[in-house]
């Protein structure tokens, strides 16, 4: 029988939904709060903020991260900035506009109610972070500075040099450390969640492996929050940190949580191109660079060999400005990425392998002077030079799209609760707010909105409205979950084959990038659906994981993650194959307008595809949550 997926978006006019809901929700009596234990897996913006805030409220919190410190969560790497509808610039911004831009940017595949709430909360986020001492960029007058970002015509992005994510995360981390010191939060670093414990239908705990000792133990609670980030590393090469993984949400999926829109992945247009096959990850050059940089390739193939300086102005094709006059270099990520791919496919790409386009600052340096540019992007330019050994002040940067963000994730309702009662999902790990494409500077906003403002309210409602019997550590469900993890671990160690984990990860990445990347086709996806199970079988037959399970064993950790990617990749292809339309980051070659733009099919696909696990060899079951638009009329997205 199909899952019942109730969005639980409250009735009433958009602007009042959240306030009304907050009033309608049950509250936990302050003196009872510390009787409740909440598990928060993840210490990034979403998890860190949630753990700190829940502890401030008085709940008894247990927080987990796989790094050696909560401060190292991948949110730290976010560069460009965070959006908020403050309209400090008086350039016509408003909650309504941020809401509309986000829905439109997501190509009309997100829930109105969630996105409107996000836009409303965006303001409180900035206030909260300023109060914490986040050193946002300031004008000389002492007020907060803004910059513009892709997909928007207003300047609403707040930033701290090129290290916005770092500063926001440190804000949440410091609040978290404050609560740890106070005793409200128990922190488990170097601890990896390897399974979800579900007792009579409710999420009541997780199975954790201590990465140092290798001990595998159950951790029980009244509610579980997963804020474990995105699964972009299924492509092997991505801008994500090496440790980013799908394990937590994938385990939950296999315990019955629905996985929504897995094929909605974002390719970021401005990354440093691949240099060689030893490449271990790709480095993002913040989108904010597109404020001042102009993207071009030679107009003629035979100029591609030349040094950029030797290509005359007339022989340059500023293809974004040409194709999308009104948004130009600031057109949304999916559009900019695809445009870059096209020109490279036409053979007009530059750099090694012809897989790159120029991001040129010559004009900006002319206009604003090198110092202003250094002030704005100094650290990004240094990073580029450190990696490529080229000086972007003199020669244009070479950039190429790379996997960056995953809009898909575990299905959640308006309260950020999955279809498993008690299992809440926040941040990039859920599918909630970005539809088929995320606008720049909106993920930090969503992570913090979920963590600081949404969960602390909705989680209380869940605890207050449900009677939760204590669970014993020897309950059959608990014992079974722990046993599963133990067997799986020893299986991974037991194979003792001939191939390294990394080699499997690389091969999977190639398949995904080739057939489930920037442009997808039914034929390609079918090929992938044949290749992936084969690769998975070989993995379990031939993988080599040295060392033991009772010690720090990074190969073992990686192996577990790759094993999950090998399953998730298949689901992504299945989802991509079923979605017979092009929308946002999902571009199906069969579904494009004559001039190569994405063609959506709102009649057939205006829904959330929530996949349900049906056993390792059985194909996942598709459930649909229809998307109803009461306030926005769906239109063909145009940035021309």
């Amino acid at each position: 029988m199909p899952l019942e997926l109730k969005s639980k978006v409250p009735a009433g006019p958009l602007p009042e939904k959240w306030d009304r809901h907050r009033f309608d929700m049950k509250l936990v009596n302050p003196s009872n709060k510390r009787k409740y234990t909440v598990i928060v897996v993840g210490s990034g913006l979403a998890g860190g903020a949630a753990a700190a805030t829940l502890s401030e409220l008085g709940y008894n919190v247990r927080c987990y991260c796989y790094q050696d410190s909560p401060r190292r969560a991948h949110s730290i790497a976010a560069q460009g900035g965070i959006n908020a509808a403050k309209n400090y610039q008086n350039d016509g911004d408003s909650v309504q506009r941020l809401f509309y831009d986000t829905i439109k940017g997501g190509d009309f595949r997100a829930r109105e109610g969630n996105v409107y709430r996000l836009a409303q909360i965006s303001m409180s986020i900035i206030d909260q972070c300023v109060a914490q001492g986040v050193p946002f960029a300031r004008e000389y007058g002492g007020l907060l500075a803004n910059r513009s970002f892709g997909g928007a015509q207003v300047s609403r992005t707040f930033y701290a040099r090129g290290q916005t994510g770092q500063q926001l995360l440190l804000g949440a981390y410091q609040a978290l450390e404050k609560e740890i010191d106070r005793g409200g939060v128990t922190m488990f670093a170097r601890a990896e969640m390897l399974d979800l414990i579900v007792v009579n239908g409710r999420a009541r705990g997780i199975v954790v492996r201590d990465e140092i000792t290798g001990t595998i133990e159950p951790h029980l609670a009244d509610a579980v929050v997963l804020a474990t980030g995105g699964y972009g590393n299924v492509f092997y090469l991505s801008t994500n940190a090496k440790g980013c993984n799908a394990t937590a949400i994938w385990r939950a999926y296999k315990r019955g949580a629905a996985f929504a829109n897995p094929c909605f992945t974002q390719i970021h247009p401005t990354c440093i191109p691949v240099a060689g096959d030893y490449q271990s990850k790709l480095t993002l050059m913040s989108e904010s660079l597109r404020n001042d940089g102009r993207v071009w390739v030679p107009a003629r193939k035979d100029d591609c060999g030349k040094a950029p300086g030797d290509v005359a102005e007339a022989d340059r094709d500023y293809f974004l400005e040409r194709k999308y006059p009104s948004f130009g270099n600031l057109s949304p990520r999916d559009i900019a990425s695809r445009a870059a791919k096209e020109v490279c496919d036409e053979g007009r790409g530059v750099g090694p392998g012809g897989r790159g386009v120029y991001l040129d600052f010559a004009d900006a340096i002319q206009r604003a002077g090198e110092d202003r540019i250094r002030e704005r992007y100094g650290n990004l330019f240094e990073m580029y030079q450190r990696i490529t050994d080229e000086n972007p002040y003199q020669v244009p940067m070479r950039i190429y799209p790379a996997v960056h963000y995953t809009m898909g994730g575990l299905w959640v309702d308006y309260n950020l609760m999955s279809n498993i009662p008690g299992l809440h999902v926040a941040g990039e790990a859920n599918f909630s707010d970005h539809g088929a494409n995320r606008l720049g500077a909106s993920a930090l906003m969503q992570g913090l909105a979920d963590g600081y403002f949404v969960l602390p309210n909705t989680l209380g409602d869940y605890l207050a409205s449900n009677k939760l019997e204590p669970v014993a550590t020897d309950a059959p469900e608990v014992v079974a979950a722990v046993a599963d993890v133990a067997t799986r671990t020893s299986r991974l160690l037991g194979v003792r084959g001939t191939r390294t984990v990394a080699s499997f990860h690389r091969e999977l990445g190639k398949i995904m990038w080739e057939y489930c990347g920037m442009a997808r086709s039914a034929e390609g996806l079918r090929t992938a659906l044949e290749l992936i199970p084969k690769l998975r079988a070989e993995f379990w037959r031939d993988v080599m994981v040295p060392g033991e399970g009772t010690e720090l064993n990074k190969t073992l950790e990686h192996a577990g993650r790759v094993a999950d990617f090998l399953e998730l990749g298949e689901l992504m292809c299945r989802d991509a194959l079923h979605r017979e339309e092009s929308c946002g980051g999902h571009f199906r070659l069969e579904h494009q307008t004559p001039d190569g733009e994405a063609r959506r099919d709102d009649d057939r696909f205006a829904y959330v595809a929530a996949w349900e696990y049906a056993g390792i060899d059985a194909p996942a079951v598709l459930n649909k949550e229809p998307l109803v638009y009461e306030n926005i009329k769906l239109s063909q997205r145009s940035y021309k």
């Binding site: 190292r72 730290i76 909260q128 050193p135 670093a189 090496k242 490449q279 450190r386 990394a502 060392g547």
Partner: protein, 257 residues
């Protein structure tokens, strides 16, 4: 290119360790230092041997996970660069490279090049925050912050918590790390109310974790991937001394300092 590595191998926290020699064959100068280690590790795994354990995550010089002593220099020869951003082009073919973990009592070795830097978290926990609970904040523009203060605060806040300052310091002092957080918050209006209390508490924690004192060697600043300045250490000293002679016990500090 071809290099000889002398790497510290240690199976576990209380196991004897030692330097072992490895050959890193056909390394591309475009590789990052960690990609070079990846290559060496993959070959070890293919031979069924246990690879060299080291911490890393973002590989963009921002998360602070990576870090090792390379030829006796924290994060290696390139100034203002974390290990993950170091590239092989800074080495010569045929070089011998000695790789050791951070060394400090506060950073016990867990395995090979992996150490426990929890002490740094506890220093932050002791007071490296502004005590505001979520919700109450007023509009972000209510308190203007002079641009130069915001910029200097950002200079200090850029710290990635890698611990290279401790590793490089001949005293094993965490002064640069601690002073960076104290200065970040101490330079902003939001950080003023707790400024002196914070100085007392964080410095006390720094001592509890048995880091060494500061002789002003300046090695930390040189090793710091974010080039945090030792001027912040002066600032920390000033705030601490002022607090020590003015703040009275009921500030809640006397008890645990």
């Amino acid at each position: 290119m071809q290099l000889t590595l002398k790497v510290w191998r240690q199976r576990g926290p209380d196991v004897e360790g030692g330097l072992e020699e490895y050959q890193a064959a056909d390394i591309s100068p475009e590789m990052s230092f960690l990609e070079m280690l990846d290559t060496v590790n993959e070959r070890l795994i293919e031979k069924g041997e246990v690879p060299i354990a080291f911490d890393h995550d973002c590989r963009e010089g921002i998360c602070g996970s990576c870090g090792m002593m390379i030829d006796g220099v924290a994060h290696g020869p390139m100034k203002g660069t974390a290990t993950c951003q170091l590239h092989m082009r800074t080495f010569k073919d045929g070089d011998t490279v000695v790789i050791e973990p951070w060394r400090a009592r506060a950073f016990p070795v867990i395995k090979d090049l992996v150490v426990d830097r929890g002490a740094l978290d506890r220093i932050i926990g002791a007071g490296g925050y502004v005590s505001v609970s979520t919700g109450g904040a007023k509009d972000g523009n209510i308190i203007p912050v002079p641009k130069l203060d915001a910029d200097r605060a950002m200079d200090a806040a850029a710290c990635i918590g890698c611990g290279a300052c401790v590793a490089a310091c001949l005293n094993g002092s965490a002064s640069l790390f601690t002073s960076a957080k104290l200065s970040h918050l101490g330079l902003l209006p939001q950080g003023q109310p707790e400024r002196y209390r914070r100085a007392l508490k964080m410095v006390a924690q720094m001592d509890i974790e048995s880091f060494g004192g500061c002789t002003l060697y300046g090695e930390c600043q040189e090793a710091c991937p974010k080039e945090i300045s030792i001027d912040f250490i002066s600032r920390m000293n000033r705030d601490f001394l002022y607090a020590a002679v003015t703040t009275s016990a009921e500030s809640g500090v006397g008890d645990d300092s």
